[in-house]
Subunit: 243 residues, 2 copies
């Protein structure tokens, strides 16, 4: 079923109106009165609706049912990725959204080559959020993951502490596997932190351990910085019973 | 440690010589006598060597130890992917190699938009194999996955039957999860088959079931055709105890 995202404050219990890009999209799809659509607030709630009227630039809907999204993961997984080079972050945002990430957080580390300045960051964040919205729509999600950028590695470590389980992946770790970390205790939220192209510095890994993060391996092969978070996210979703 | 791939017939028990691209690469890295390197046959065997002489276009090595590669997965996982549009197959070859795939097999299905002709296929296969070789080197693998293209969907189904377990992912499957399929029986090889952008046709899925493939879901979210094989491969490697 076609799904449209609206702002949470636009959600109504009885009637809804789609305008702007949503109305345009419905026109492209040649949608007609009587067809059913899903309208999502992007935060996990959705309305099952029937189209009652199609006018230029405006689609009127009758709400049949309001429900929690059926396609969100049981576990809230946050993807923390050090700023990578070129358009790799865009790639990870798109894929992580498909794979069900709760949010995507970029942050600087010592070996980050690319670190957007304040001015370009604002534009980039808008672009990144659009990529997440588009991927959420295509993959049938009820939630658009928030994409954010933090100012320091320290901030990233502090923020991961808010989740029930925080894991850092380090290529020099051999003993502790992701499975070991996931099999410990009860949790509803997980943070997965990965480094940039050049890897994390030893001292940064020590800092993370002090902050309470678990340091794990992703196996014997060295993964690229854009492969590691998606591999880890896939495994966590699999472990959590998603598929 | 830097690793070089040579043809299997170039492997020797006592002395080795690197020439061509390998010698060039060693020059770029400014390698010197006394340094240790790994020389791999690309099929899972490797020699731990010490550089004994650096000449223009030729690096001489003393073999210290011959061993099975330490970085190959215990499970041989074959990735079967329907021909996708544009350069998505290149992306999947690179990532699947990093993630430890045993081989990557492309094949046509009814809804494949892109289907390379005989002539362009030969060139493409050379290019694809190079991408796999480069990713194997960078990720520290001892084996270069073979990349191949089959002429028909039927051939793909028949070939998957040679592995101990063959799984097809279908977005309309709800009941059978990947975990269910992986928890059944003993196996040393797994084939993972995914469809093109438009998905597999119902009749193709029925055909696969007849051929003995297990039809599984990858969860409630619709994954893009280039995301699905990598998500599945990550999960299978995780299930197999790789990380």
């Amino acid at each position: 079923m076609t799904r449209f995202f609206v702002e949470p404050e636009q959600m109504r219990p009885d009637f809804l109106v789609l305008t702007g890009e949503n109305a345009q999209h419905a026109k492209v799809l040649r949608m007609k009165s009587g067809e059913q659509v899903l309208v999502c607030d992007g935060q996990g709630e959705e309305c099952l609706c029937t189209i009652s009227d199609v006018s230029p630039g405006q689609i009127s809907l009758v709400v049949n049912k309001r429900q929690l999204s059926q396609s969100e993961a049981a576990l809230a997984v946050s993807v923390y990725m050090a700023f990578p080079k070129s358009d790799k972050l865009e790639h990870v945002i798109q894929k992580a959204t498909e794979l069900g990430a709760y949010e995507i957080v970029a942050f600087p580390t010592a070996r980050c080559v690319s670190r957007p300045d304040e001015k370009s960051l604002k534009k980039k964040l808008e672009r990144w959020q659009k990529i997440a919205a588009s991927a959420a729509q295509q993959s049938g999600r009820g939630r658009i993951p928030e994409v954010m950028a933090l100012g320091s590695y320290r901030e990233a470590l502090e923020r991961t502490a808010r989740s029930d389980k925080a894991i850092l992946f380090y290529e020099n770790e051999r003993a502790t596997t992701l499975r070991m970390a996931l099999e410990e205790g009860e949790y509803r939220s997980v943070s997965l932190l990965t480094g940039p192209e050049g890897g994390l510095e030893e001292q940064e890994v020590a800092q993370a351990m002090e902050a309470g993060l678990r340091v794990c391996t992703l196996g014997k092969r060295i993964l690229r910085c854009e492969t590691a978070p998606l591999c880890a996210l896939s495994a966590v979703m699999y472990h959590g019973g998603e598929f």
